[in-house]
């Protein structure tokens, strides 16, 4: 065979070989990419299922405790109150009358507390009147008798699409509001919501000491930051986002939730 042809064919074969190897590498990398994506998707799916199960069981437990408190503890306390009221106070001496009166007051207070806790744990208002009313009711209840000036500006166009989602949103608002009351020393609080297409945007604003996004990211991994971890889990479950920012006048928490995604799925 002529050497010139041998050289030309040799060059062509070698280049073809190099190109083939490159194509094989690229094809293999694509396969690896697809596999990695599938594994990631599966992991995310499993994580979501775990979070969903945890959130559901937490909600069931809340309901169970709320019902026990309301039906059993509440009933016993009401019965105790009836018995206490059955005592004729006029036959008691002055000291016993005072004790009787104090006992009645404390019993009334504990009945109110138990009822309050039971309502907080249960989501009756949420189920009957919807998310907006439940938030308004909760904000009013927790800020009553405090120095905090609370304002709610919720979008009434919002209609419940998925009751489970509403419970999660409500629980997040409860947790955030409780944190603000406990730690922020705020005197002003505003909660507003807007419905944009399929997205619900909630804004919680207060003028106390709040969290920045960095602090939130740090705290939610701590043992004591269980509430924040729960918020993050619910956000993952809802496929939403939460963002903490510090402004000139106070702290802002933006929650973005796609409210129709779960239904579609």
């Amino acid at each position: 065979m002529n050497v010139t042809y041998l050289v030309i064919v040799g060059i062509a074969v070698m280049l073809l070989m190099v190109v083939s190897i490159l194509l094989a590498v690229i094809y293999n990398q694509r396969k690896k990419d697809q596999h990695r994506q599938a594994v990631e998707q599966l992991r995310e799916q499993q994580q979501n299922q775990l979070i969903e199960a945890a959130v559901r069981s937490e909600e069931l437990e809340r309901h169970r405790i709320a019902e026990t408190l309301h039906d059993e503890v509440g009933a016993i306390l009401s019965s105790a109150k009836l018995h206490l009221l059955g005592i004729k106070s006029e036959v008691l001496d002055e000291r016993d009358q005072k004790l009787h009166e104090k006992g009645r007051e404390l019993l009334n207070e504990v009945i109110q507390k138990v009822r309050g806790i039971s309502h907080n744990l249960h989501s009756n208002i949420l189920k009957e009147f919807g998310l907006n009313e439940a938030i308004r009711h909760f904000v009013k209840k927790v800020t009553q008798g405090t120095m905090i000036q609370a304002t709610t500006a919720l979008d009434d166009n919002y209609q419940t699409e998925n009751a489970e989602n509403d419970i999660s949103i409500y629980r997040m608002v409860q947790e955030l509001m409780n944190n603000i009351l406990k730690y922020a020393n705020a005197t002003g609080f505003l909660i507003s919501s807007t419905l944009e297409g399929n997205d619900l945007n909630l804004v919680l604003f207060h003028n106390g000491d709040g969290l920045t996004q960095e602090q939130f990211e740090e705290l939610r991994f701590r043992k004591e930051g269980l509430g924040l971890k729960n918020i993050q889990n619910r956000i993952i479950l809802l496929k939403g986002t939460i963002h903490f920012t510090k402004g000139g006048e106070g702290y802002r928490i933006n929650i973005h939730v796609p409210v129709k995604t779960n239904n579609a799925a």
């Binding site: 060059i11 070698m14 490159l22 094989a24 690229i26 690896k32």
Partner: protein, 233 residues
């Protein structure tokens, strides 16, 4: 026109190196594994400049065998040895845990081959018109570099760790090198023979060598540029 194109291709061994050199000076990639490639650019700029200047003097002023440096072929031999040593170092620095011992042995085996070849079988310093150009040396070097490139790609295929191919360390350099040595293996292997038997074809086929060298230099420049981006991320 043909003369100009031919001249541009003749000098491509020098000007093509200025492309990665410019990116090197502009972006200054600091990855350790690129150190041999940086040295390759600098050393080969000097060697190739010598090769082309000797060739130019020879064609213009008719340098005779009695003159000093009348034949540039020994520079190709020196370049071949340096190229293999530098790219062996480059592949070792990539730290791919694959055929590691073989990669460490290759430069020593190659040096042994060089000593034996030039001590007993071929002259290192040119004595005739084509003497000094060692097809055996350059083809062996190409084959060994091609082996390095193949093991690099095989490692990319079998490794478990996910790396994005375009940003995998050394990917562009190895791709450029594999095209360069892949195309040149047969050119080097038969070049002595072709130069004696069909000089016109030998001159034409050397243009292929120059074109793949330009491609190689462009790929090195891409690697320098990508490595700089990875640094800034």
């Amino acid at each position: 026109m043909n003369y100009i194109i031919h001249k541009i291709l003749d000098w491509s061994e020098v000007w093509a190196l200025l492309i990665p050199m410019a990116i090197l000076l502009w972006k200054n990639p600091k990855a350790t594994y690129l150190k041999p490639v940086r040295l390759f650019i600098i050393i080969f700029l000097v060697i190739n400049l010598g090769i082309d200047l000797i060739a130019e003097f020879k064609s213009k002023w008719g340098i005779t065998p009695q003159d000093f440096l009348w034949n540039n072929n020994f520079l190709y031999n020196i370049g071949s040895i340096i190229r293999l040593l530098l790219f062996s170092w480059f592949f070792i620095l990539l730290e791919q845990r694959f055929m590691h011992r073989i990669k460490l042995f290759i430069p020593f085996i190659f040096l042994l081959f060089v000593i034996i070849n030039f001590s007993f079988f071929e002259p290192f310093i040119p004595q005739g018109d084509m003497e000094g150009f060692s097809s055996r040396l350059l083809a062996t070097e190409s084959a060994l570099l091609l082996f390095y490139c193949l093991q690099y790609f095989i490692f990319l295929i079998i490794e478990d760790k996910h790396t994005h191919i375009k940003t995998a360390p050394g990917f562009w350099v190895v791709t450029g090198l594999s095209i360069y040595v892949g195309a040149n293996f047969f050119i080097y292997l038969f070049y002595e023979y072709l130069f004696v038997k069909t000089i016109n074809f030998a001159v034409t086929i050397w243009d292929v060598h120059n074109i793949v060298f330009i491609i190689f230099c462009i790929f090195i420049a891409i690697q320098f540029s990508i490595e700089n981006k990875k640094q800034t991320i």
